[in-house]
Each structure stands twice: as C-alpha cells, then as structure tokens.
Subunit: 513 residues, 2 copies
C-alpha cells in the first residue's frame, strides 16, 4: 500500500463513491490506485470547473461528499468558482489537490504556487499530507470536515511523494455528525415572539428546506405564520404534495414591498437577508423598518427539528397546506421561458432533478413548475454562473434512477461547456436545455438598475453574444450529445416530451428572444 | 467623472489600450465608461480564463499591460490558471476585479468572498480602491507594479460604489521602469569564471531572450561558450537570421546528460534549473555534480545589457552564428507532429507569432521550425494548459499586422475552448490548430516515469479522451470559425498554405495518432 492507496481506501471506507477528476503528472499514483479500489467511480472531466460543480451536485443529492482530483494550484483555481457555489450551498466536498513532491517544492518549478493560499477562501479545512503515513488519517479528517456542520469544502493537498511512498496507515471510519437542536429556551422565546407579533414571518435557509423541514414549516403556515425561503436554495423539494413556501424576491425593493408590515422575522438555518448586489439608493438589508429578527436555528443546527419544536410550542395543526398537482396546457406560439416552463411542468417525471443556471429564464420556469410532479430544484447558490451542466452531471451520478434536467442561460452554459462531453461519456440520464437569447440578458437589466446610463457601442459589445451567433446544436453535437434546436413552443413541447420519456443524455437549444 | 471613468482614463493615459473582459453586475459602471474612452478597446471573452490568457499574450507581444475585467472572486478564480502562466512569464497584466460596494461587503451576500486572498498567490500587487478618489491613483500604481521589474500581475479590486461615485481625481502618468545593469564587479567576476572554466555554459531566462539579448548571447557562443535557454520561454525570437541557443531538455535525466561535463553555469535572468516535476529516484536540480552556478543578472536586471557587457569583457567577436533559412520539403503520408512542423515551417510568413500549448506535439514542431522565416514563439511558461487559444487572441490584438498560429493539444484546447468565439467575433488573423489524438498523451508518458505501474480500466478512463471522440470541426464551427479536418500530411500542408496566405480566423483539426 502506498499513500495514494491509503487515501482512496480511507475515502471509500467513509462512503466516498465518486471521484470527479482532471488529473496531471503529480496525480498519476492516485489514478493508478483507483484501479485497486472498485468502490470509487472515476469520472473524467475535461476542465476542473466541471469536476468541482459535479462534486457539488453529487453532494447536494447524496448528502455525502464526492472527491475531486485537481492538478496543483492552477487546477484548483479552475475549479474555484464552482467550489464557491458549493461553499454557499453548504455541500460536503473533498478536494484532493495534487502537488509537487515535498522536497521539490523549494525549487519553485514552473507549476509551483501557493496551493493552500488559493484553497483557503473556499475551504473550511485545508491541510497538506506531507508524508505517506499522514495521508490516510488526514483523508478521514477531510471527510469529517466536509460534513461540518455546516457542510463545505475540505481541501487535502497531496504531494507526489506522499502518494508514491509506502505506508501501512489507513485513516479511521468517521461518523457523519448529527446536528444539534437549539436550546429549549430558544424555542420558547421564538414561540412567545411569534405569538406576540402582528405579522410574523419565518425565513428558511438551506438546512431548513428539506422534506422534514418543509413539513414542519407547513404546520407554521397552517397556524397563520407566513413562511418564505431564501431566494437560492441548494436543494429544494417542490411540486405536488409538498408545502411550498414563498420565495424571497431577488431584487431588494421588491423584497421590501413583499415584506411590508412584517414585525418579526424568525431565521431558520439562515442569516439576515440581504440584496444580491448593492445599488445606488437601494437597500442592502432586506428587513423592513420595525421588523425584529430572531435566530431560531443557525446554519449548523437542526433546522427541521427546530421548526417542528416551534410548531409544537405554538400548537400548530398537523395537517399542512400542500400543492395539488396542476399541469399546464400545451403551450403554443412564441417560444419563451413561460412556454418552456409549461412544457417542463407537463412532461417531467416524478423525482426529476432540476439544475438551475438559467439566469433570466429561471424564475418563469420556477413559477410554472410549482404544481408539477414532485421534484428537487437545485439553485445557483453562490452566483457564479457555469454551474448548470456540472451540477447536473454530479446529480445524475448520485441518482442514476432519476431524470435530471439542466437549465442554462447561453452565457452561463459557455463557462463550463466541457461538461457536455462528460454527460455523453458517462451516458447519464440528463437533458440539457440552453436558452439561446445570444445576450447577457441579466446585465441589460442590471445596467439600468445600477444607474450606469445607457450602453453605447463599446458597452453593447460586452453584453451581446450574437456576433457570431453560437450554434449550440453544433457545439453539443461535437461534444457527443444528440442535439436539436427548437424555435416554437410546439416544437419545444414535443422535444421535451421525447426527452422526458427517453433515457440518456440529450441537448435542446431553445431559441428565445 | 466617476471612479470608473478615473480608472479607464488613467489606464489609457498609461498606455493601456485593450481590456479583455467578462463583466457582471458589479462592473456595469466600468462597462459604460468604456464608451467614454475610445483609447481602450474592449474585447468580450466568454470565460475569464480566456480574458487572462489574452492579457498575457497581449503583454508578451506589446511589452506593456492590457487590462482584464473580472467579476468578483469567482471571476478571478476562473482566470487564475492563465494568470499563473503570466506570472511565470513575467508578463505585465492589470487585473480589474469588480467587487461589492464597500458598505455591502459586511453582509456576506452570495457572491462575497475573499477577493484579495484569491488574487494574492498570482499577484505582485493587490489593492482595493475603497473610495472613488482612490481609484485613479491606484490604477497608476497598478500599472507601475505590473511592469516590476520583473513584470507580473497587478490586481486592483474595484468596489461598485467606488466606480459609481463622483470624483475629480485621476492617477498620474507613470514612466515604465528601466532595468538596472548588474555591478561592473559582477560582470568581471563572471568573465573571470568563464575564462577559468573548462566547459562553461550560459543559461538564459525570459528577460535575456530578446532580440538584443540573443545578439549578445550569440557573441558568447562565437567565443566558445555554450548558450542554452530555459525550456519554456515567454517570447522567443527564432528562425532565419537569428542566433539559436540550445534549449534545456524537459526531462531531467536528459538535461543532465546534455549538460554532462559542464563546470560552470552562468545564470542570466533565470534561476538554477530544476525539473518540471519530481520523480522517484530522478534529479530535481538540473546542475551536474561539480558544476558551479553563478548569477550574472537576476530576473529584474538588464539581462541583455549584462550579456553584452560579458561578451565585451571576454573580447568576444561581433559576428555571431545565425540560422540560415532552410525550409523543409512538403511532407507526405501519415499526419504526425513532424509532418505538421514541416508544413508550418514551409508556409508561415515572416513575423508570425506561434502560441504553443501543443504538449507532446510541441517539441517536434519547435525543432522543425528552427530554420523557418523569423518568428516569435510563445511557450507555456507555467505549465497550466489551456493557454494556447487565449494567448493567440491577445497576441493578435497586440499585433494586428502579424499572422498568429495557435497550436493546441486537444486536451489543452478544451480548457478554454470559449476563446475560439472571441477570435471569430474580433475577426483576428489567427489560425488555430488542434492536435486531435483523443488522449492526454503526455500523461501516458508520465505514468511510466512516475513508476505508478500500468493503467488498468479505471486509470485508462482518466487518460483517454476518445469516447466519445470530440468532433472539433463541429465545435469550432459552432463557435463561429471556418473549420476543416486534415487526416494526411498532404491535406494538412494544403490547409496550412491556405491559412497562412489568407487573412482572418480559421480552425484546423489535425487528426494525429
């Protein structure tokens, strides 16, 4: 056994079953050791941002970490944006970052860099295994650190000589942590505050938006408390038969109007809501004047348990309001996000997983699918576009029996377009839709909001993707996916019907304005 | 004037004429301000790694910085790998990283991260302009810092409110620095050491490999001193009429054989040579036993001047050995890197610029073009693949009257494939060649060298790109480039003849084994 074996066996002992990899020379021992450990499935990604986004998607669905395999500092950097999203999602991820042999670092070879420095902003744990004997124990530490709570990215730096040197030391099996309940006094205080409030609201963050959390939140709703969730939730169970909280509005002034009159905001697994961006003369903190905020459970605590305890303390009913199945009619005419949302709602099967990187097209589809068959919605938690395809890749590896639908703005899809190839290679049951409006549409909206003035020719150059127009069917076809273009609501509806009833990877370019 | 105007005007006053951009909401003021400053050309890149690699290519050719425009921490991370290469090349680059408004940072909104922490490993200067009045002066500081010497990446963080707030303060015009000569005593000491040595060699790094530096190095060669340069040079003038140093071998044991018997190594603009990677039982430091090393000029000093002074001190002749023009015959039969190199040598015009990210195909082409028409060769300085297309983009913007040839391994090209679109959009005179062997070929070689053993099915999965085979003609065509596939030496030779004699962007897939 060498250090690489100790690493992979320790990961496998701790339930790590997938490794999204883009290896280089310094990772060759790890690569070969994978052949000796059948419990870990290697998935090749042609760019590290695909690997890290896939690990995020895997972790959100499996509730346990996948590993990534990254090549020194630049390999980590390439994966950094999607690890930012994973950090914001609280997803457990174990990054294995290959590095130079320990004795070689001092020479400042061309690929030498401050790997730990690069990993630190995104990681809740960064250590380097500087001997073969250290690898296994640190791998177990990394798995434990990835769980948190709250979950996040653990980054284990693996020098080449630690991987190739012999060892007899494996890491221990660690027990995934349990989340602690808030103190009974905190529950009681919240119940008293809710009873005393004229217009109380409860705001749910990631750890609260689970099947159990939503059931408890539905009881609060039944008791007359308004329930909202954060705008971007890592994994949201939705659709028929489930309680559907309201969603915090994206733009601050809309959120403030929506919350007008609230005099109490109970925070469950989240923090005080703030605007995504600041704008001149617009609010940053999205809490109305005179509204008190109160923490019921923080991001590390048992949010679902806290909600249930609060419901009990309030004597809330057991029966909760749920969404009834209500599928839209077949859309006709112009292809736009509302029509697309209708088709998705009509055809997606129970248990579908939606990876949403659709930017301006996302909200209409979110609204249209509210009463669709039960499904999970994975949002862009950190705002770093380029997540949609990688996340779908990882979700499909985690859940091979579920249909995955990846929704992408064209600007966003281009960031990690390499992920299409991995979907084809692994023959995963993923349908990718790209909304080809040939613009950074959101930036045209944001331009007005920031008060920057009108776009002249130079500015328009930076917001427009239409010259040349990307032929997405060619791009996706070249990367190995069956691909088609839809230009009307009717043709999209037919394409979606086929895609949802046929297993395997496929690609649809939705030509929208 | 607002802070964004102050930034762009200050950059333009200091000779910054290109901005490779991937903007977001926090950069809208900068984007609109570009319309008010015609001296700066905005170039949209659909991924930040394209923008940073383009700035590197621009800086290598123009000898002055371009700006990048990046969106918060994740945008910087996406550009980090190519900034690593730029750092290793010593290229001046000014990164403008948009950030949240200063007062909004405290709220930990979804896109908030430690921007400075992320930028630090690659940057020789990182500052945040936390008021509108600070923007202009810091922009001038950033330009100065990018020049060094040695040159490198300066990263200016631009909070949104600093961009949108009014100011009357522009930054000063700064004078690009001059490089200092080594002390006369150091020149004399080197001359004495060379005279006393039985087998002296001179090793040139980036700042020594200029037209002037090569002329002086040629004089040393004429005086009997062997001259080599580092394996990967940022910008190497080559071809007919120029002195051609030997190149340090890539693999350490080959380099040690090549240097056997040398008893003095004079370092000029570089440091002690080391292996790219460490391997079990192979040398890290590539200096033979008994060979003394001596610094003539460090990376910040006037390397060309130091070489000329050393040549004078040694009484070296003025006439130097140069390469005679010698073009290969038209290749026939199987398409392989030697045949490709022959065609490139035959057809590339004087003044061509080659961006080399060709990995295993690169050395044969480098050898075949030694006696071609004079050209510049831009190498992968930092080992982070995905540089070839972006570097060509930037070089073509810097040198609109020169033909640019971008050579890419298929694995490498996929990293920053989005750059193809920018070549088409800007209608640049760039020919992109992708060597489609459908494998990470270099890793098959490295696998053996690291002693990791044979690749089983799992390991082979991580080294092979052939399932599915990427159809590069479709991918490049979908991104807007005229594209063709060549499967024989004859067809490639014809395609290269057309490409080199016709202006504008085009793409060739070279189907090699």
């Amino acid at each position: 056994m060498n250090g690489a074996d100790a690493l992979i066996e320790t990961l496998a002992d701790n339930g790590v079953e997938a490794c999204f990899a883009n290896p280089g020379t310094s990772e060759m021992q790890f690569v070969v050791a994978l052949d000796r450990e059948p419990r870990v499935r290697p998935v090749l990604c042609l760019f590290e941002g695909v690997a890290t986004g896939a690990a995020d998607g895997y972790g959100r669905m499996a509730g346990k970490p996948a590993a990534t395999l990254l090549h020194l500092g630049p390999g980590y950097a390439n994966g950094g944006a999607n690890l930012h999203n994973a950090r914001r999602a609280g997803t457990p991820v174990v990054n294995v970052i290959g590095d130079h042999a320990t004795y070689h670092r001092q020479y400042d070879a061309p690929l030498t860099s401050d790997v730990a420095g690069w990993a630190k902003p995104n990681s809740n744990w960064v250590k380097s295994a500087d001997s073969a004997d250290a690898v296994g124990p640190l791998a177990a530490e990394a798995v434990a650190a990835s769980y948190g709570p709250p979950g996040g990215c653990a980054s284990l730096i693996l020098p080449a000589d630690s991987a190739w040197s012999p060892t007899t030391v494996k890491g221990p099996r660690i027990a995934p942590p349990t989340r602690a309940m808030p103190a009974a006094a905190a529950i009681e205080a919240a119940a008293r505050a809710v009873r005393a409030a004229a217009k109380p609201v409860v705001l749910l963050g990631n750890p609260a938006v689970t099947e159990q959390g939503l059931k408890a939140a539905g009881r609060l709703s039944a008791a007359g408390v308004r329930v909202l969730n954060d705008t971007f939730i890592a994994r949201q169970p939705r659709g028929a038969g489930r309680f559907s909280p309201d969603r915090m509005m994206y733009f601050g002034e809309q959120a403030m109007m929506d919350l007008a009159g609230a005099d109490l905001m109970v925070l469950v697994g989240t923090s005080v809501p703030v605007a995504f961006f600041a704008y001149p003369d617009k609010p940053s903190v999205l809490v109305p004047d005179g509204c008190r905020t109160l923490d019921l459970a923080d991001k590390a605590q048992d949010a679902a348990g806290a909600l249930a305890a609060l419901a009990d303390a309030l004597g809330a009913p057991e029966a909760i309001p749920v969404v009834d199945l209500d599928l839209p009619d077949a859309p006709t005419g112009e292809l736009n996000p509302y029509a697309i949302g209708a088709s998705i709602a009509r055809h997606m099967p129970e248990g579908a997983i939606i990876s949403d990187d659709a930017v301006t097209a996302g909200l209409p589809i979110f609204m249209q699918t509210k009463a669709a068959r039960p499904h999970d919605w994975l949002a862009l938690t950190g705002g770093a576009i380029g997540q949609g395809v990688p996340l779908a890749l990882g979700a499909a590896v985690a859940c091979p029996d579920r249909k995955v639908l990846s929704l992408n703005g064209d600007g966003a899809a281009m960031y990690t377009v390499q992920g299409l190839w991995s979907l084809a290679r692994e023959n995963l049951d993923v349908t990718v839709v790209v909304f080809a409006n040939h613009a950074y549409r959101i930036l045209n909206i944001e331009l007005a909001r920031t008060g920057a003035g009108n776009a002249g020719p130079a500015a328009r150059t930076l917001l427009d993707l239409g010259d040349p127009r990307i032929d997405w069917v060619q791009v996706a076809g070249g990367l190995g996916l069956p691909a088609e273009r839809c230009v009307s609501a009717e043709s999209f509806d037919q394409a979606m019907a086929r895609a949802m009833s046929t297993p395997g990877p496929r690609f649809i370019e939705a030509a929208i304005r």
